[in-house]
């Protein structure tokens, strides 16, 4: 699809804003609608748009496969690890109260951290699944080498 000039220019313009919107949804999820799941999906969709327009090899150069595969596990680790930190500080598993100076602040920090883990796992899984499907049949996906 790289010879479509308009598509290339428009997606180049759009991708930064999609990524910014994903970050906004991720970190504003405590205050408005949104959170890790939605942010991860939006982040992955920016990457998928890039891969569709500029080709798989360029996309792999931007985000190598080992990064997304590590991200899958790292997100779950961040989530589970936050729970373990709660145990180590003398509370129940996934009780975020001891993470801050006061219990509500600790809850807020814990929620932000685990939402970040959720977002990382979701974005990595979506990107990985897309790369796995697209990598199998490039010609059908109209992706040049």
């Amino acid at each position: 699809m790289s010879h479509h000039l308009i598509v290339r220019v428009v997606s180049k313009l759009l991708i930064p804003f999609i990524l910014l919107f994903a970050l906004y949804v991720q970190f504003h999820g405590d205050f408005g609608p949104g959170g890790g799941f939605q942010a991860g999906v939006i982040f992955a969709s920016a990457f998928i748009l890039y891969a569709l327009v500029f080709g798989l090899d360029n996309a792999r150069r931007v985000l190598p496969e080992w990064v997304t595969r590590a991200g899958i596990a790292l997100g779950v680790l961040i989530y589970g690890g936050t729970g373990v930190v709660g145990i180590l500080l003398g509370h129940n598993y996934l009780d975020y109260s001891p993470l801050g100076s006061t219990a509500p602040l600790g809850q807020h920090i814990g929620i932000s951290v685990i939402e970040f883990g959720v977002g990382m796992t979701v974005a990595s899984v979506m990107a990985t699944i897309f790369l796995a499907f697209a990598g199998r049949n490039r010609d059908l996906f109209d992706l040049e080498e």
């Binding site: 949104g34 992955a44 969709s45 998928i48 899984v125 990985t128 897309f130 796995a132």
Partner: protein, 171 residues
């Protein structure tokens, strides 16, 4: 939405069916907005209408895009579907009306969440507070489900790319 479903059932071109699925998700998202469930609508629009349509297209490109016709009679399955539909509708007759303040769901834990979640978690969005703190175990389970899906896809088809010249037989 009913028209979308009708065409999803009737059409044999799977490409059109996937597109109609995306449209259905978008309509469902608008319905959730009308019901004031903004977070659910957001997820439905992003996941249902966005990503899953792309992934379905990816899966479709690995198979054919035309559904095979089945010569067998569809009368018996239709009968079962209609019966199950009537049973479900009959079941909804006992449910409380939408927005009924004395419905059990509004009496159980929801008032506690609405009243206490800001003071206890200092997170203004109650949905996020319930999702990540009160129901932290459930959300961890959801993340693990997504993790498992990703690992499964990587194990099944993630490595086909590494041997581009080799002929893949036995598939």
């Amino acid at each position: 939405m009913a028209a979308t479903i009708y065409f999803v059932v009737r059409l044999h071109n799977l490409l059109a069916v996937v597109m109609l699925g995306g449209i259905y998700s978008l309509l469902a998202a608008t319905m959730f907005v009308v019901l004031d469930a903004v977070d659910v609508a957001f997820t439905e629009a992003a996941v249902g209408a966005g990503i899953s349509t792309v992934l379905m297209l990816g899966a479709l490109s690995m198979t054919t895009s035309v559904e095979k016709t089945d010569a067998r009679s569809t009368l018996l399955p239709l009968l079962f579907v209609v019966l199950a539909g009537f049973a479900l509708i009959y079941g909804t007759l006992d449910m409380p009306h939408y927005g009924d303040p004395i419905a059990p769901i509004h009496q159980h834990v929801a008032p506690t969440y609405l009243a206490d979640s800001l003071a206890k978690t200092s997170v203004p969005n109650v949905v996020t507070a319930v999702l990540a703190s009160y129901r932290g175990y459930d959300t961890l389970g959801e993340v693990v489900v997504i993790f498992t899906a990703g690992v499964g896809v990587v194990l099944l088809i993630g490595r086909g790319r590494r041997r581009p010249g080799r002929k893949r037989d036995g598939e």
